[in-house]
């Protein structure tokens, strides 16, 4: 019985998870294209520019991405044999890019010209952390940087 439930969860996880991933990637790429005009770098200082910096402000973006049952199952199998945990790669990739996009969104709303000093922090939520014993793991990506606006 429990094996049947597991099989159903894994199947749901596979189909729902891959659908969500596909649509999310489409949305990520579309929004990244829209943000190509907003330079985002991890340089400590703004690149040389004749213009004067009007203001600089901290901007941040945050995204939490959950793992589906299929990925969890593949990952637990992978834990037995070791090797690249490729099941989780796309989850982490999506979380970071989504968080970056949210940070860029925040910077654009404030009217920034560029973002420098970009930093990324990653934390796992659930799955033995945050007081949960047997929670499903999800990952949090937190991206922050300094938004800069030049005087025009």
């Amino acid at each position: 019985m429990e094996l049947l439930i597991l099989a159903i969860m894994v199947t749901i996880g596979y189909f729902a998870g891959s659908h969500a991933e596909k649509t999310h990637y489409a949305s990520i790429i579309e929004r990244e294209k829209a943000f190509t005009k907003l330079p985002t770098t991890n340089l400590k200082h703004p690149p040389q520019d004749p213009r004067e910096v009007e203001w600089a402000q901290l901007v941040n973006g945050n995204a939490v991405m959950a793992v589906d049952y299929f990925k969890l199952f593949v990952a637990s199998l992978r834990n037995m044999f070791g090797g690249r945990m490729s099941a989780y790669e796309s989850v982490i990739d999506r979380a970071r890019r989504e968080a970056t996009l949210r940070m860029q969104e925040m910077a654009r709303k404030q009217g920034a010209d560029m973002i420098i000093n970009l930093r990324i922090e990653t934390a796992s939520i659930g799955g033995g952390t945050a007081g949960q014993k047997n929670g499903l793991p999800s990952i949090e990506a937190m991206v922050y940087g300094t938004a800069v606006r030049y005087r025009r």
């Binding site: 019985m1 429990e2 990520i28 190509t36 199998l77 992978r78 490729s86 099941a87 982490i92 990739d93």
Partner: protein, 298 residues
């Protein structure tokens, strides 16, 4: 330094995500797991086969304690007790034939159990359980003796311990893998409890051979050896070809094997002896004791 806007790479060119299909990895890992499990099962099975012949009789009787409640039920009523005693006399005669040296003769016990199923079982600790359904159908002493000899064969070859050991291996593996209480471990546990220790086809025919040899030793002919399985074959509903999928050979197949053996050894077949009156009387009484034929097994 000039900033040149660049478009993000397409989803398929993402360097941070492995390009292989997730199902591909899933299948490879699942296959690896199945392989590892199979290997463990195989090794533990071999370990069981290696341990069983060297198992101390005391350890075996300790193992038999898990069946004590069942044997006690069988011994509870006075009618089944006298039936058990009558069967024990037959078994002792067989034991004397098989082990002429008294010092080497093992102590095996037979119990009559009220149950409408037509079956007899060999249990750890040297116990043979005969269900009254079998006695009810038996028409001759020879036939009954052959069944006793067959179960004796299982005990002598220690097939019951092998079956028990393999069930234990399955139970342990299932528990380790899927945690406590799931359907696989439930199945394995049931097979431990309900004594459905299935023996392999090879083990069954080896036991058949010993039963036949004992029958001939006692009566001087092989009459009645095939009667029991012939009757089972008539009652069997599943088609014969399906027997390749099961561990137990089809009764008709066993009849043919036995006949081939009888021919090869040139055993004579003579009329059988009817079942002793004492046994029949006990049997009738034990059925009255348990009129609805409800079994005590769970």
């Amino acid at each position: 330094m000039v900033f040149v806007p660049k478009e993000p790479p397409a989803a398929t060119e993402n360097v941070n995500v492995s390009p292989n299909h997730p199902l591909h990895e899933f299948l490879i890992l699942l296959g690896g797991l199945a392989g590892v499990l199979f290997l463990v099962w195989l090794l533990l099975g071999l370990a069981v086969d290696w341990i069983v012949p060297n198992l101390d009789p005391r350890a075996e009787s300790q193992l038999a304690t898990i069946y004590r409640p069942l044997l006690e039920v069988g011994d509870a009523s006075p009618t089944t007790q006298t039936g058990s005693r009558a069967l024990q006399i037959e078994l002792d005669q067989l034991l004397a034939l098989q082990f002429p040296d008294k010092a080497k003769r093992p102590a095996y016990f037979v119990h009559l159990h009220s149950d409408e199923d037509v079956n007899a079982l060999a249990l750890p600790g040297g116990h043979i359980l005969v269900l009254s359904g079998l006695l009810a159908q038996a028409e001759s002493e020879n036939e009954l003796l052959f069944v006793l000899g067959h179960e004796l064969g299982h005990l002598i070859h220690r097939d019951h311990l092998r079956g028990l050991g393999r069930s234990l291996v399955m139970y342990t593996l299932a528990n380790a893998l899927f945690g406590n209480q799931n359907f696989v471990s439930g199945m394995a546990e049931n097979s431990l409890r309900n004594l459905q220790l299935s023996f392999s086809r090879g083990q069954e025919s080896a036991a058949d051979q010993l039963g036949l040899a004992l029958l001939v030793k006692k009566y001087g002919h092989a009459g009645g050896a095939t009667v029991f399985f012939e009757r089972l074959a008539k009652q069997e509903k599943s088609p014969r070809f399906l027997s390749y999928l099961t561990t137990h050979p089809h009764p008709q197949e066993r009849v043919e094997q036995l006949q081939a053996l009888i021919q090869a050894q040139a055993y004579a077949i003579k009329p059988t002896q009817p079942l002793s009156k004492a046994l029949k009387a006990n049997l009738a009484a034990s059925q009255e004791h348990n009129p609805d034929g409800q079994s005590e097994k769970d």
